[in-house]
Every structure is written in C-alpha cells, then in structure tokens.
Amino acid sequence: MTTNDAPLYEVRNISKSYGSVVALDGVSLSVRAGEVIGLVGDNGAGKSTLVKALSGAHQPDTGEILLDGEARRWKSPHNALEAGIETLYQDSSLAPDLSVSSNVFLGREIPSRGILGKLGFLAQKQMDNEAHADLERVGIAVPASNRPVSQLSGGQRQAVAIGRAVSWARKVIILDEPTNHLGARQAKEVLEVIRAAKAKGLGVIFISHTLPHILEVTDRIVVLRLGKVVCDAPTSDFNVDTLLGTITGLITTAPAE
C-alpha cells in the first residue's frame, strides 16, 4: 500500500496535566494512511496519556486534533470510534463478565429484526456468529464466542481485544503495548496483524517496550521523554543501541534525517 503524504491523523501541541504532574507537554505527532508509527519512551513518559487523548478517553488541556486535515474534538471515546479510530488500551479494554462476542460488539450491538429490535432487544445469535467470523478473519480462532472473557487466558483475552480493534478500525488503530502477556511466538503474530493493518491502508500507532519489534515493523519512531517528544525520525535511522540511548536520554542529538 502506498504511503500518502498528507497526514491522516494528527495532534498538535497537546498538553495534559494530572494535578501538578505534567503528563504531556506540547506533544505533536502525525500518522499517514498505510504508515506505522512506533511510540516509545520510559515508563511514565506519557505514552498512555497520549493514547487516551488520541482515543477520546481524556480531553487534553490544550492542543489540536486533526483527522483528514479537519480539526476535531472528542467529547468521549464514542466520537473517536465513530470517526473510525480504534484503540487497544494498555489496561484491558474488555469487560471480563461479558462473553467474547458481547465484547466484540460492545457499544455496537446488532438489534433484533422488527419490533423487538425497536424495543431494544438484541440479535445475540447473529452477533455470536459474526464475532466468530470477524475474529477468524483477523486470524483469531476463539472456540465459543459465547464464553465469558474471564474464562480465557491472558493471551486469549489480548487476542480478543486486538481482534476487536482490528475488525472495527476504518482509519486509525492505536495499540498500547499489545504484546503484553504474550509469548515470543504470539508477539510475532501481533506484528503480522500490524503489517496486515498497514497493508489495508490504516494508520497504525504502535507502543511497545520491545525495541526489536518497534524496529522491525514501524516506518517512523517517535520518542517521548517526560511528556515531550524528543525525537521523531524514520525507523531506518535507528538501531537498538541508538534507540535505547534516545529513550534514556544518553543520546541527546536527534539522528540526522
């Protein structure tokens, strides 16, 4: 898939404080269609806070959000979801007591046909079948989509969360440490999912502490330190050592672009 030059999704000069803690301090970042951005930084650098601003879960104190060049404001995650932006949060975005399919369709339930649907009743069978098909299409074989998520292993839960995000995303997909809880082989499979999303023309923002994964799958890397972007450069400019140095602050000059 070709990488378009105009940014698909962009934030400019975003700031966010929790009381006296400045979590984000004038952060700008953009992703193009068919591009994978790696977002890295130490714990507490502000990555998850940035994700929540991008997904509408938090309102930034200042700054602009642009989708397809148009200024947008997310009052809640609902607005961002409707605009085609899907997010996998670092802490589980699943409701453990609900079934796999109820989670996949959460907030987007299919109503029953006819009068029952108008009264608020749901087409559960249809959702079970479609959730199963959706997860299989992404490559996730979950046995019974009516099983509660609480009965799945950590890896399976993560698979359901990734599958849900991938199958609903229309423009942008944001993955906050999606390889947590996963073994080495499963993490490789998540990287394949990211490549598939890129091939579909989605903009991908991928957060991970596993630097080889970042180097392997991203086109560009944005490094956050203490709430500020300290480096934004093509992935080809980095190796593990220079990337680690940039994250920890041992290397202060950005690599040449």
Partner: protein, 346 residues
Amino acid sequence: MAILGIATTELTQTVAPVPPRNRRIKDLLLNQQTILFLVLVAMVVVFTVLDPIFFSVGVFGNILLDWGPIILIAIAETFVVISGGIDLSVGANLGFSGVIAAYAMKSLIAAGIDDATTIFLGLLVAAATGMFVGYVNALLINRAKLVPFIATLATLGAAGGMSIVLTGGAPIGEGPESAIALSVPWLGPLSWPGIVVVVIVIIAGLYLHKSRFGRYTYAIGSNSFAALAAGINVKLHLTRIYLLSGLLSGLAGMFLYIRLGSGAPTSGTGNELVAIAAVVIGGVALAGGVGRMSGVVIGSLILAVVPSGLIIIGIEPNWKQVVIAFLIAAAVSLQALRTSSTRRSK
C-alpha cells in the same frame, strides 16, 4: 490462515474440551439457581409437613402479597448492583412515594373524583415521586461524584425524614375505599397487583438478559472503563438505572398502599436490606457484572416464605432476622466457593 495463532495454541493447553460427567454434576449442584430452588422447595415441604395449612391458596396468596413490594425493589437493586452500584434509598423511597401518593389520593377523593381515576392518578404520583428520588441519586453520583453508597444513604435519610415530618408519623388514609379490594386474590393466589408484579418481573428479566439496556448494565459493572472506551455513555446509562430503581420503588409504595389502604411513612423502613439480601441470596455479585434475574426471583420468594412459615409453625416471627442472616452468609460463601472453582481473577 492463522495470523494470530494465540487462541489456537493456548486453547489446546488450557481448556479441557468437554467437562467430564461428574464435573458437570458438580457444576449443576454448585449452580446457585439450582440450590436456591431446592432450598425454596425444601422450605415449603418442611412448613407443610409441620402444618398442612401452609400448603393452601390462602397462605400462598398472602405470601405473594408480602412478596410484591420486596420483588419490585429487589428488581431495582438487581440492575443497580449489577451495574456496580448500590441503592440504599429503595426502602425509604417506597415509604415516601406511598405517603405522597396517599396525600394526592386523599385530596382527589375529597374533591369528589371516582375511585378508579384516583387510583390511576395515585399510581402516577407514586411513580413520579419514586423517579424524582432516583434522579437525585443519579445527580449525586454523576455530578457530585459521590459513590453510590453515600449518595443513596443521603437520599435514604432525606426521603425517610421527610415522610415522618410530613405525616407526623401517622399513616395517611381517607383515600379510595375500593383500593384494598384490589388486593383480594382471584386467580388462584394471584390478585390484580400480584399479576402486574409478575408481568413486571418477566419484562425486567427479558430486558436484563436480552436487551441493549441489560448489556450495558453488565458492561459498566464488569469494567466501567471498558464500557466508556466502547463508546457507551456511562453517565447517561447510570442515570437511567437509578431512575428505574426509583420508579420501581414508587410502584412498590403504591402496591403497599393498595394492600394496606393507607400510606405509612415507615412502611419501607429497612426494606432496602431485604432487597439487598434477596439480590445477594439470588447470586448477584456485590462487585457488579454478575447475576441473573431468576436467582433474584427465587431469593426474594425465600425471603417472603420465611416469615409466613415461621408464624405458621408457631415460632416467634422475630427469628426471621436470624434465618435471613444465615441465608445471606450461606449465599455469599457459596458465591466465593463458586468463584474460586470456576473463574479466574477479573
């Protein structure tokens, strides 16, 4: 294709394909609904053996009349607790709505309005009063950011106190005289209000388990951030739940008015604990996200059978508190047992 082979690889290791037979029997026996139903049947059998009069349409009719207001506020509590909250105001709200409706009906009768119209308008007043208290709960929780326990404790005090202040503690009568007659059973042990309650139970169960409203209720109680992240308007849904809780408390107030022929300010006092007991005995988790309406129905029936049963077999009725306390303890420890045997941590 298997891009994410996660599930396929892990499943073969962690999930047994079909539980063996004795495992399934154990699951069934540990199933709270099954146990509850057996407890209910056992109670009826024991009371009947001790005094055959217990097994009669007359006694069952009375039990169902006792059950009416209990199940209405227990349904309210079911939605609230599954959403991760608690509503301590249901009992006080029941009494308050009954009193306000009683004043309204007293004025209407004094103005020469006929009984049927008066009862209908009284029903609307009780419902509106209940929903008003529910709305205040929602405002305190969503706007003032109080936890549900504190918010509804405040409205419990306010509604209970206002009922006493308004009435001076005395029941308000002089309403429609034919109201009491409505409570007479005519369909086996069922009276008109009883039939209405049964219909409400069925509709509430369908909405809890089959509708978007119920789905959001479970989602919020299970993980409210996940619900928000999925695009659900969590505050709006909680407002609807506390409005529903208020509405059902108001209807319970009217039910009791019809039964007693007056609105007594203290008629709901302590009933919030009975409702919470019914919900907990019925298998609803106080942490939210878990529970079934069928369990709550049986739990509330057990609570309605205990006092009548104790009276029939000649035991001092105050023992009922002790029996209920025992049932709650048993239900909660059973829940803990089940959780540790079948569920992983949240």
